[in-house]
Amino acid sequence: MKIKTLLLGGLAAFISATTSLFAGGTLTPTTAAQQPIKINSHQANVTINNGFAQVEVLQTFFNPNPKDLEAVYAFPVPKSASLSEVTIMNGEKTLQGEVLAKQDAEKVYEEEKQAGNDAGLAKKNSYQTYEFRVSPVRANSEIKLRFVYYQPLEIDSGVGRFLYPLEDGGTDEVAKSFWTTNSQVEGSLSINVELKSAWPVTDVRSPGFEGAAVVKKIAEGHYQLTLDRPGAKLDRDFIFYYRLAENLPGRVEVIPYRAAKDKPGTFMMVVTPGIDLKPITHGADYVYVLDVSGSMQGKIHTLANGVSQALGKMRPEDRFRIVAFSTSAREVVDWTPATPENVKRAVEIVKALQTENSTNLYAGVQKGLEKLDADRATSLVLVTDGVANEGVVNPAAFHKLLKNYDIRVFGFLMGNSSNWPLMRTITDATGGFYAGVSNDDDIVGQIILAKSKINFEALHDASFKFTGARVFDTTGDFPNKIYRGQQLVIFGRYEGAGQATVTLKAKLTGEDKTYTTNFNFPEVDTDNPEIERLWAMAQVEQIELKENIGVMPASESKDAIQAIGIAYQIVTDHTSMVVLDDATFAKRGIARNNQQRVAAERTAQSVRATQAPKNYQVDAQQPTYNAPAHHISHGGGGGAIDAYTANILMALFLAAATFYARRTLGARSQKE
């Protein structure tokens, strides 16, 4: 139990020790003679409501040079974010964004830029960065950039986590050699969070900013946090945790959106299972696959210390094996029972590890899969900070390799801009899970959450099925495994209205389990138009996964993503947002689809801002789950008596009571 926690703890500490090579900020070519564009102010307004976050970023740039320049701003891509709105305020002129096919948007931007007209461009560089270009920023003048993205949020074991990524993971070597980043904010840097939860929230915190952040509790589930960091750099992530109250029910929540009866509806279903999953008490095997490539230099001592401490706490019935990889992979420690002597020996070996060369992730995983014992449950814990750049790098090859093994992969991804599409492919093949860990994360909390999944039974062969309504284009409805505390987010579309049924079928320790929920799809519900963009991004990610595992050709995937990106106006790898004034859009004949979407979203947002958070639970009358949702508290210790000890103490109570009674009766009879 605690043993694996500590082992994971060491690894997570190792993850947390990564250093920043880049940060969110303006980019200047390394050879440029002019001064970099300055960031005069940076403000992020975050609203967490109805299971997703809306992030609005307002920035002011200043060109200190005597000539006009193009401003380039980049920041790490938040996971599953759908960039939906970009506005540029250049003097009295306001430019707005429309999403086009990537090459079309770039062409329009370049043409306008060459003509000396005001224009902007927002594009996505794979999983690494969002890049914003604004041209021109007039000499000695300011320009304002505003952008908005939406992001679905999951609550794990009663703890919600929102990450505003600013620290760059340094995974893009080409960009690193080409650009110089200016992340210094000259004036105010502020982050404002508004949390509106339909469920009671007992605690909120932003690790590392406890002293600087001002938290105000408005109501039971309504908090506001304000953080001002004047003169700070955009090189440190902001993480916001919120903890729901204990003993909340296992539940199913459905957030619908349907503009009109004659159009299909969209929904986001959030399933928080309340299932009594038991701890795994028998010994298990753990393979630790550790990245010791060149980028780990300076961190290897932290790795050694973390793993050493963790190894020292393992259970003797557990076995472990350690594999290290860089250009090639090698076994550092063979299968070893976690006895004190073996642990001591392994600690010395791990402490002697040295960093070297590039990252051959495939070789590391392949080596980790050797020598598996079919009679023992095995987990592979993969810790990496880099992007595979040596040997086999095709995600489909990873998927094919791992599909052949009965093993769970738990991935820990270091920092921002890490290759999460590849890690998702790897964990998807084995029914495992992965977690990104920021340098500013609450490491203890992350460890406890990971432990809660690894050390407890999981539901197997899990799938959701909808009946009673025509539901289509779903994502997330075949989770395969469901771990303790895990919340599942399912997106889909529907036609018609009225009652529908969703059934979760799964196996628990070989026994079939079925959980059924009945609910109604509304004919019209316009409270949350953002659900469409979130659904669209989930579709895009599903298509990317299919491409990664080799079941969809790249050309087909590109066409599908492009079509979705344009239809729902989100920035993807194949769509970008060009930012122009109204006249230029009209002159070029570009439809204002995004303008209409933004108008609908802003109307809904202004209504929601005045309302209390709405509870979307659909199974309150007929609960789907009997047990409460799993809830976790982090960092706390407790004096606890388990059932066995309690029984022994109760026996002592009876013995003591009998003893006192006999003694007294004996004394009485003697007196008489």
Binding site: M1, A646, A657
Partner: protein
Amino acid sequence: MKRIPFLTLGLAGLALMVHAFPSWSDALEMNRAALMHGELWRLFTGHLTHFSADHLKWDLVVFVALGSLVELRNRRHFLGCVVGGALAISLGVAWLQPQFTSYRGLSGIDSALFGYLVVDIWKLSRAEGLCWSAFAAGLAMTLFIAKIGFELITGRTVFVEVDSNFAPVPLAHLIGAVVGGVGSWSLFFCSMQQVPHESLTDVVLSGQGVGDD
């Protein structure tokens, strides 16, 4: 009235009430940061807070059983176990277990009550020449200390019941048992120079506790 262990029942009721209102638990738990800000009451009130219903359940059952026994035996001694145990455990955890940001649970005080009873039975048995009960009491204390020692050294709990809501703190049990045991032991020497102990049945049958001040 003295036949009712009202202090035990009152504290048990308080623990239940605190658990019913989660915000109370946050305000009363033994929290390291809050202690540094001068909220010293948490040294005592933290023991009435719990992380979950499962956590509360057995802690409370054992507290009511052992607490009633000790309180009926001697209310002043019961208070000594509760107050002394609470203070010693909180300070011990704060000082010796820096990894914990907070501490909750009645079980440390349960251990103090356990320590008190076992030593009390042992010393009475010794005084009256009851070898078997003296041996049983000694064995119970030895096994309890051994269990805690094992948990402290190995970091594992003897009876595996994993609850990821919090990490168990065997040190709290050790401190509690020592406070209860030493308290009972020191009273033994005091009582040798003063009055003989009254018995539980004296209290129950007569309706008044000889030593109950």
